[in-house]
């Protein structure tokens, strides 16, 4: 358990959530027993809160007026070229980020279920074989999308492990579907084309997607 002195040195790690579980537990144990350190933590929190509420001072009238004159003469204009598209992409991305990868997993699982239900059955539109292939390609396309999205996000919070997880889910789903739904799944050539080929295609498309200028994270550069 940390001493009081040690606790004051790591209080920011604690507030920032940058502590291992063990350190966190012992930190809290100390807090539970030490009302002085509880007071210290409370004061730290209040300090932060106070800083966040520092009042804004009014802008001097002449500065404000001069800036408005500049604004009138410069008149920033022109259509915000990519705003609509960006808004949509950003909104989708935020949604994905907030719901996490669980959603991706659930979608893949749902698609697999659908594939299992539909894939093996002969239907009115297509014969068994074509239907099976189509559903399977559809299932294979989902990991492609997943890998593509993950590749775009690589530069940020999505670690390589997440990328691997998405690819693994996709591969598993494709494999399960192949085993359960497709009557031709035992044919080696078929498995090679669909399984191995599908995964390779997914990887290639993912890599290609990450190079699209619209999707690529911006390169770090200075200037406004």
């Amino acid at each position: 358990m940390p001493t009081c002195k040690e606790l004051t040195d790591v209080v920011t790690d604690y507030l920032e959530g940058r502590m291992s579980v063990m350190r966190r537990v012992s930190f809290r144990l100390h807090l539970g027993m030490c009302d002085r350190c509880r007071a210290y933590l409370r004061q730290m929190k209040m300090t932060i809160e106070t800083l966040g509420r520092l009042p804004d001072e009014p802008v001097p009238a002449e500065v404000r007026e001069a800036l408005l004159t500049r604004f009138r003469t410069i008149r920033p204009s022109g259509a915000p070229v990519t705003m609509r598209r960006r808004t949509f992409v950003a909104a989708f991305d935020d949604w994905l980020r907030s719901r996490g990868w669980m959603v991706v997993g659930m979608v893949l699982f749902g698609a697999a279920l659908l594939g299992v239900l539909l894939g093996g059955q002969p239907g009115p539109l297509l014969g068994t074989w074509e239907r099976c292939l189509l559903v399977e390609l559809g299932v294979a396309a989902l990991p492609v999308v997943g890998v593509g999205v993950a590749a775009v996000r690589m530069r940020e919070r999505i670690a390589a492990s997440s990328l691997a997880a998405v690819a693994a889910i996709g591969a598993l789903v494709g494999y399960l579907h192949l085993q359960l739904a497709c009557p031709y799944s035992r044919v080696t050539v078929h498995a090679l084309v669909i399984d191995v080929g599908g995964i390779l295609l997914a990887a290639l498309l993912g890599a290609a997607a990450s190079r699209l200028p619209a999707l690529r994270p911006p390169a770090p550069s200075g200037g406004a």
Binding site: K5, T12, A39, M44, L51, L67, P80, M83, A224
Partner: protein, 214 residues
């Protein structure tokens, strides 16, 4: 435009505001100035040597905002975007002046250990000898109502080394998140946390001095 994506993206409100600005809406621009001018000034003071230099940087920043608006893509919140322009301008100027805040101080906070609390306030076994003076009945609202408290707080901030003040301002005063601050200041997550910790510890101490009379 340099728009990295750590931290929250632009809100619908941000986009609506940008749209109004691009349509030449002066009221929207005046609102932006009212909201950010002094905050930009406060931030700029961390990077350049004196107030007139800071004012120039802020002027530059507003020009940058105006010319950059059409290419605002909303990868970060509008506020973060504006702050980033300011910091880029301040850095450019710092290089030219070569006597402003050393940005290297951001990269290498003193590796020397800086205790959060004066070691003399602890017993040899690490327990409090002189525990925190209580100010439990205070709230930020009550505190900031008092002019002398506000003054003390600002003085304590002014005494911070510029690198600590820059991180504290962005994180706690402006409410940016850790990723955004690392991005804007181009510092590592660990350095950001060290600078923040030192700054917060000093401000807490200043408030304790004021409220508890250490």
């Amino acid at each position: 435009m340099d728009e990295k994506t750590a931290g929250p993206r632009a809100s619908g409100e941000d986009f609506a505001l940008v749209q109004r600005l691009l349509a030449g809406d002066e009221i929207a621009f005046a609102g932006l100035v009212d909201r950010y001018h002094n905050r930009l000034l406060r931030l700029a003071m961390n990077f350049v040597s004196d107030r007139s230099a800071a004012e120039e940087v802020v002027q530059d920043t507003w020009l940058g905002v105006m010319s950059g608006l059409p290419s605002f893509e909303g990868r970060s919140a509008l506020k973060t975007w504006i702050f980033r322009i300011l910091i880029n301008r301040a850095k450019t100027r710092g290089v030219r002046e070569a006597r402003s805040m050393p940005f290297s101080a951001l990269e290498n906070p003193d590796s020397e250990h800086e205790p959060a609390v004066n070691p003399a306030r602890f017993q040899p076994n690490g327990m409090w000898a002189d525990p925190p003076h209580r100010w439990d009945d205070e709230t930020p609202e009550k505190l900031l109502m008092r002019q002398d408290a506000l003054r003390r707080l600002k003085e304590a901030m002014a005494r911070l080394p510029p690198s600590q003040r820059a991180v504290l301002t962005l994180r706690d005063v402006e409410g940016l998140d850790a990723g955004e601050v690392c991005n804007i200041l181009e510092i590592s997550e660990t350095n950001q946390r060290v600078l923040l910790h030192r700054a917060r510890s000093k401000i807490r101490h200043a408030l304790e001095e004021y409220l508890g009379g250490v």
